[in-house]
Amino acid sequence: MISAQLPAIVLLLTLLTAPVCSMMRHGDHAWKLSMAAVWLSVVAAFALMQQVSGGVTLSYEMGGWPPPWGIEVRIDELSALVVVLITLFGALVISALRESLRTVMRSHRHSLYYATFLLCMASLIGITITGDAFNVFVFLEISSLSTYALIARGRDRRALVAAFRYLIMGTIGATFILIAIGFMYMVTGTLNMADLAQRLPEHTDNRVIQASFAFFMVGIALKVAMFPLHYWLPSAYTYAPKATTAFLAATATKVALYVMIRFVFDVYGVEFSFEQMRLDLLLIPLSIAGIVIGSMTAIFQSDVKRLLAWSSIAQLGYMVLGMSLLNVNGLTASVTHMFNHAMIKAGLFLALAAMIYRVGTSQLRDLSGIGRTMPLTTAAFVILGAGLVGVPLTAGFISKWYLISGALDKGWLPLAILLIITSLMALAYIAKIVDVAYFKPVPADHQPVKDVPVSLLVPVWIFAVLTIYFGIDTDMTAGVAERVAQTLLGVAS
């Protein structure tokens, strides 16, 4: 009986715990309640993954109202993979959050912070599982609002400005998506995504639908931080509280990418998006620009948080590029990298949070010699950095392999060479950090530091171990991604 209600349970666990957390006075009680809620959601997410494996699509009617009048929850393999991503990585970050928050704010505020965090997680899960277009907008706005609040709690006063800029840009983007949904409703009369997918093909000559496609792509590209709409990301990631950046880097942009893939391939359809509206002509140059500019800017940063933020922009460029290559290998690379990069970046930001917890700043100069004073944390950082570059036996290698195969499938050898060159650029900025951490002396005016408490260290090492695990056993990531890519592109396996 419970397994039939799983789609609702995975959403409601975090959603209902959030207001309860906000009413608690002690931060520690709120933390224990949040831990229970999110780890139960992880179990539910894996159970869902089990239920949809092999290509089954679950359809659940909220409140018993049948679609297209009621809101439908539709879960297929892609949604299940993203739900696992959100819950598992969110749970690992929350485990580290209790220790990390002690240095950022006073303890009676912690409960409110956990409440906002849980709301963010719940709304991201909601975006992923819903089958109704307007519901996507509502959950997208809930997740954006909680993200703005989470970022604004950073210690530096520039966090407030970063949150404000993100609020203005993010609201314009979400309102563009609302306009797109309005146009689609105007022409077809339905908001259910599966219904829209059936009705839109007969209206492709209608300029309203073409306009809605344009509005939607601009709105969602802003949320994905695709070049040139990436302006909000570096400041937001740099000044947000330390562990929160790990959560945001892992989930917010990846869920927006999921929405982009779902709408472009399922709702609007491959023929309309790529053959009629020629989306690939727009996405391929912009994503390549994002990759190159992101990697190059990252190399010259002196603040490690900002360096990793620009690296995220480059990696998101890889994902959008894979999506626009229009073959099975490319789309597999995009979905696999969505999962792998979430894991690697969350681990990197969490390891960095552990270093800042002891050292106090994230400037590269202040982190010199940290390989000797904090050996365990830095070792995990190196493993995750190797995953980012794409060293064989790590998860990053798998996604880069599929992406280069996708480029070669189209016969574009220069693009494949460019991808290898940008991976070398990633090696440059990771090597820069490793060099300072291991081969430079500790600054003379520093307090002696030791390694971090276990509650911060264990999640970081779990991320590092997962990076190696998913580089060897790719059934859950690449296997699922390949089946998803074949279904979305309409290619028989």
């Binding site: 307007f134 509502v138 609002l145 604004a152 609020l167 203005i168 609201t171 309102t175 002196s302 100069r365």
Partner: protein, 133 residues
């Protein structure tokens, strides 16, 4: 020609409000004015949704005896939700603006950017003195 203007009057208003709102967001230096511009922009979208829900000759979508033709109630529901989202966004934006005022003593965007560049240069200066010592 008059059919184009008078018949589609609602949509001309939508376009005007949308562009006015976006212009206010982009050109204002005052943070609160940016939020007001955002509100104007969102109001334009609300008018767009409600205009498309109107059925000619239909009355307000409230059940009453003797009325057979109603306007479409679904856009009204969607817009109520979107208005609530807009209110929450405005509240959060104003709260952040208040905190910015407490931290920077100004809500002018260019003054804030100048103070931030000073912060950034101070950070970099600390770095260079550390490396040279």
């Amino acid at each position: 020609m008059t059919e184009l203007i008078a018949g589609l009057f609602n949509y001309w208003v939508v376009i005007f409000l949308m562009m006015a709102g976006l212009y206010v967001v982009m050109s204002s230096r005052h943070l609160v004015k940016k939020i007001i511009g955002l509100n104007i922009f969102q109001t334009a979208v609300f008018i767009l949704f409600i205009s498309m829900g109107k059925v000619s000759g239909g009355s307000a979508p409230i059940l009453a005896d003797g009325i057979t033709l109603y306007s479409n109630p679904l856009p009204h529901v969607l817009i109520l939700t979107a208005i609530v989202v807009g209110v929450a966004t405005t509240a959060l934006g104003l709260a952040i603006a208040v905190r910015i005022y407490e931290a920077y003593d100004t809500v002018d965007e260019e003054d804030i950017a100048a103070l931030d560049t000073d912060d950034q240069q101070r950070d970099n200066a600390v770095l260079t003195t550390k490396t040279s010592s």
